[in-house]
Amino acid sequence: MSENTCVLTAEQLVYRYPKQIESALNCVSLRLERGQAVGLLGPNGSGKSTLINLLNGLRAPQGGHISYDTGHPPIVAWVPQEYAFYPDLSCRENLRFFAGMLDATAHDATRRVESALSACLLHEFAERRARHCSGGVRRRLNLGIALLQQPDVLLLDEPTVGVDPQSRRFLLDRVRDLMRAGTAVLYATHYMEEVSAMCSQVLLLDHGRVLASGALETLLRGEGDVPFANLEALFTHHTQRGLRD
């Protein structure tokens, strides 16, 4: 399969939560390609999490559709912002448990656990209960659990919140490794510098609508004569400065 093959296409997605007047997502389109990362930006409540929930199959779109150019549904893995594992299990027990939830043989599950331990440098902490691990190790475990699925598409929801610069660099390097291996990445974050460093494409949402979408370089050039100084300037230009919460 060649580089930049589209893995997943979402077109004109619409979703409205029950008992809500406004749509959480309104005609949002997105393309995820092999080996590329799309930065998903937007203020709190803009619809980022709803979009992620539609892409990982937790919710079904009420309008629009999601298609797969590869002919079969890709494996989509999700790294939530929360530490979505069991703090009273060790890192290895957590990985074993989630590997056990895959439709894999026992041998394959063990291999995937060892691979995740290695990829996220967790061997040193493998027998330590997750509760007793640092924030950085827990973030790595959170990513490692997603890697067990050997995903075609990785949905990252603020994966570096609350970690030190070393851990952040490590996590970003791992995501780059995955991209090099052909994984398509959707990277939702409030850290503009991470998007600038990782993503060639950007999708900016607010109130469930797309405010800006496309190649990062193109968007930074702007529509007028004056380009945006950086991604934060672009973000503020589109979403305004007023507080949202």
């Binding site: 999700w78 594992f85 069991y86 939830m101 699925q149």
Partner: protein, 401 residues
């Protein structure tokens, strides 16, 4: 997902629940130590309430009536074991406080009336704080009989020498003999041929109470899974809510069986080791298994419902613990139903823990029959089904209702 994969996932889910449980010392204490402690305490506490004839408490006497009849009557009483004479009320009070005696009798001046008959209202009974009501009731009954005897003697003396001779040798112990008293038997004793002991009542009662406390570990895990979005993550791994629910049901119903084994050991080994009666395990196995399974389903169902419908562990623990204590109090786990007023007894018989207690005690007392056990097991299973139904939606949507 094929059948093998589904079973493998279920096994992983069950093992995960057990691992988490074994690392939760507070949950284990609530499930094992608390009901065991209750069995021990209640087996010894209730030991005497189920004995029809209790020994009289050690009693001190203060004789303020100076009549010869009063002196003769009190002499007969003081000849019994554990009876002691005191010169004043102050002395008696001090002896009660020092626990030298457990009860006191004050024979007021004027006990023997002007008509030459003893008057019950001139007799006062003092009780130490540790005297059981049943022992006090026996003391009062014996005093009444004894005074009746005095009256009869006086009447006989007035009637003539022949009648007086007939009664002269009678003593109070012959009126209320230790041997030859009427036999009193409860219905379950008649049906089963066994004597009800405190341990036979306490083990099933507190086992049920302990089983319902699975709400603590269930809530601890489920609420954390929901709040940390681990349940959502499991969904992205292709794990259905039904499979999650099945994993929890199996794990915690298995746990109930471990609790059962532990409580049987307590009743069979620990209680007799400390001087109590041993639990009689000559029980009908089929009915026993049915009652344990039905009770376990109801307990886990209620635990899942409370965990599914509360937002925090603190909320679930307070609500679950409170509901369990109330259900146990209503059912007669804490206080035997025989001590409740009739209306409360009816309510008690129609409550979830009441169905479990009745069915389980009928098994433990050795007189189970289908007409008694089956409706109670069915009610417990229906209760479990309703609880699971009500907890399904919040578990499916991974948010408290």
């Amino acid at each position: 997902m094929n059948r093998d994969h589904r079973l493998s996932k279920l096994l992983h889910l069950v093992i995960k629940e057990w691992r988490l449980l074994l690392r939760n010392p507070h949950g284990l204490a609530a499930l094992f130590l608390m009901p065991s402690a209750f069995v021990l305490v209640m087996s010894f506490t209730l030991k005497n309430t189920l004995i029809v004839r209790l020994p009289l408490p050690a009693t001190g006497w203060v004789l303020e009536d100076k009549s010869p009849i009063a002196a003769q009557w009190s002499r007969e009483w003081l000849a019994r074991p554990d009876m002691k004479r005191f010169l004043s009320r102050e002395e008696l009070k001090a002896a009660l406080k020092a626990r030298q005696v457990d009860a006191g009798i004050i024979v007021h001046a004027g006990w023997l009336g002007d008509d030459g008959r003893p008057r019950a209202e001139e007799l006062e009974i003092w009780l130490g704080n540790r005297v059981q009501p049943a022992a006090a009731a026996r003391l009062r009954a014996e005093l009444s009989f004894s005074m009746l005897q005095v009256q009869m003697k006086i009447a006989a003396a007035e009637a003539g020498p022949f009648a007086s001779v007939l009664l002269s040798s009678a003593s109070s112990s012959e009126l209320l003999p230790e041997r030859g008293a009427p036999t009193i038997r409860y219905l379950y004793e008649i049906e089963s041929g066994r004597t009800m002991t405190a341990v036979q009542q306490s083990v099933p009662a507190w086992l049920i109470f302990g089983m319902f406390f699975v709400v603590i570990p269930i809530a601890g895990v489920l609420i954390q899974e929901r709040n940390d979005r681990t349940l959502t993550r499991l969904t992205t791994f292709g794990v259905t809510p039904g499979l999650v629910l099945a994993g929890k049901l199996i794990a915690f119903m298995l746990l109930n069986w471990v609790q059962l084994a532990f409580m049987l050991l307590v009743g069979r080994v620990l209680v007799p080791l400390l001087g109590g009666d041993a639990l009689n395990l000559n029980i009908a196995l089929g009915w026993f298994l049915l009652m344990v399974a039905a009770t376990s389903a109801a307990a886990v169902g209620l635990g899942l419902l409370i965990a599914a419908r509360t937002r925090s562990f603190e909320h679930a623990a307070a609500l679950g613990g409170g509901i369990n204590v109330i259900l146990a109090a209503i059912a007669g786990v804490m206080v035997p139903r025989m001590l409740m007023p009739p209306t409360l007894q009816t309510v008690s018989e129609n409550s979830p823990m009441g169905w479990a207690l009745d069915g389980m005690q009928s098994v433990f007392l050795g007189d189970p029959d289908a007409a008694f056990i089956l409706p109670r097991a069915a009610l417990l299973l229906a209760f479990a089904a309703v609880c699971l139904l009500l907890s399904w939606r919040p578990i499916r949507h991974q948010e408290p209702a």
